[in-house]
Subunit: 334 residues, 2 copies
Amino acid sequence: MDQNKNSTCRELSLRQTAKFLKRHDHFIILTHASPDGDTLGSAYALYYGLNEIGKTASVLCPDVIPKKYDYFARKTDHVARENATVIAVDVADPSLLGALRDEFGDAVDLTIDHHISNKRFSKYLYLDADAAATAESMFELLRLMKVNINDITAKALYTGIATDTGCFKYTNVTAKTHLITAQLYEFNLGAAEINRLMFETKPRRLLELERMVLEASEFHFGGKCVVLPVTADMQIKTGCSGTELDGIAVISRSIEGVMAGITIKQIDDTEFKISLRTFPPLDASAICQKLGGGGHKGAAGANVKGSLDEVKQAVLSAVGQALEETDAGTVTAE
Amino acid sequence: MDQNKNSTCRELSLRQTAKFLKRHDHFIILTHASPDGDTLGSAYALYYGLNEIGKTASVLCPDVIPKKYDYFARKTDHVARENATVIAVDVADPSLLGALRDEFGDAVDLTIDHHISNKRFSKYLYLDADAAATAESMFELLRLMKVNINDITAKALYTGIATDTGCFKYTNVTAKTHLITAQLYEFNLGAAEINRLMFETKPRRLLELERMVLEASEFHFGGKCVVLPVTADMQIKTGCSGTELDGIAVISRSIEGVMAGITIKQIDDTEFKISLRTFPPLDASAICQKLGGGGHKGAAGANVKGSLDEVKQAVLSAVGQALEETDAGTVTAE
């Protein structure tokens, strides 16, 4: 393990990456914090692949791995830190190593990733920014290494691809995504059951939160804008927190006729986090910049101080102005 | 057009189907009633394909085509009934021709379908029951005919495949589904926008209905069973009806820990329609048979007379008994 801070990061081809893996024998595979299907699926696929060719490897995740991934996230080997080669998978930035950052932030030998924003913090890097998921690259890597792929490896890879693409719904999907997935169907994949676990199962508390949020929802500007408040009270009463709340913003953009979906999540007594989802010609990023935030054209955010009413008025005013400027149909305040 | 009732139906190979289409010049293409993405996507893909090789064709749908399909469902040719060859697409049974049944029920020359339950009501039939969508077969047919595929044809085919598979989520997906889809990505597909329209846009009235249903939801047997009532009052207040209500049963099976999701939809003052969704070892079909209905292992239904409370008690009693019999963990009535 090389503990020196890497002043330069060398990019490898897929073939060089395969050679690198074959040259070493003991691996520590790191996922990012708040683990998702792609970081876990790619890490475990690599683990199973390395095992198949007689290497030992240990998957380390900075956080507890959610139980829903149990079908592929099994116990891995114990590998001593001292003589291990450290691979980070789907990790764009050392800060995403969370609790493992202090130990490994400067000590990653190879990163395998698909984020264009990768910070090049490791000694070596395999980056395919056109891949919809790191799991796509992992499949190609295992194939290139002529490693035997098992059913469980296929399940892990499918999970990575399916979760990072919203089950093949998003703009990141390419012909290659579908070609790789077709090859995964040659295994005993159980894709429908994986998809049910990943996409169609939600805790009862989240359903209760959604009910409360819909109860408190408001439509403005003739139905072109919806406001979904997620108050501290709702979070406490239901016990929902963290990434669980992300689904509310998804609801805000799914309502027919809505061009601006606003989620207002209470952080504490004096601060709210606004998540804005828009459709063209509205620019969420431009609107949120007026509120001191930023983001992308279709999805942006801002933290705003004030009471719920004050924050709501601030964002509604910014959205109303944008609707007028873009001449997005007749604007009538309700 | 052959108006004689077809006493025998002849199955064609894909090659024979291609030859059949090349031999004729004027087509009427029928979709099924309550049109979905597959019947429409397949019908319009066939229309565009036939146009490319100089044939005229008219797509006839028994119902109004929902506006969300406008991106491929354009105005088609006018074709006189008298000398037209009639093709039914994704139609398993003449009753599914709805308002067009009287005119065409006995007059379909060729059906292209993927339902194993196809009633063989037409003169000729191309049936691939392993296809996840009729659109899969339509793609293979157009390729075999060496017909030029345009962007709009690709959009129509993708819509058929995506909608009939829940965007590649269901058990009907195969390697071929993904291989065909990969080829559709060679066109200017705009798949993410199609998926948003098909899967992530819901009318405001439906959101309001979901809120009301969640408000009235009840959990039983320690959270293993949920009851979602859709009363006449809710249907009237929100204006939701027909297939729009199907999403409620989807919610009932998506709640973590729920093994039996019960939707009770009011039909009139004295009758309710139960939709039951279960997970193994529970058998929805067996439970609904006790209530005078039937269906599949994971999804079944029954129409039950009585008040909402009586109907609820009847189905809860049947589910409770099934839970005890299958020894599905500790059963505690709440």
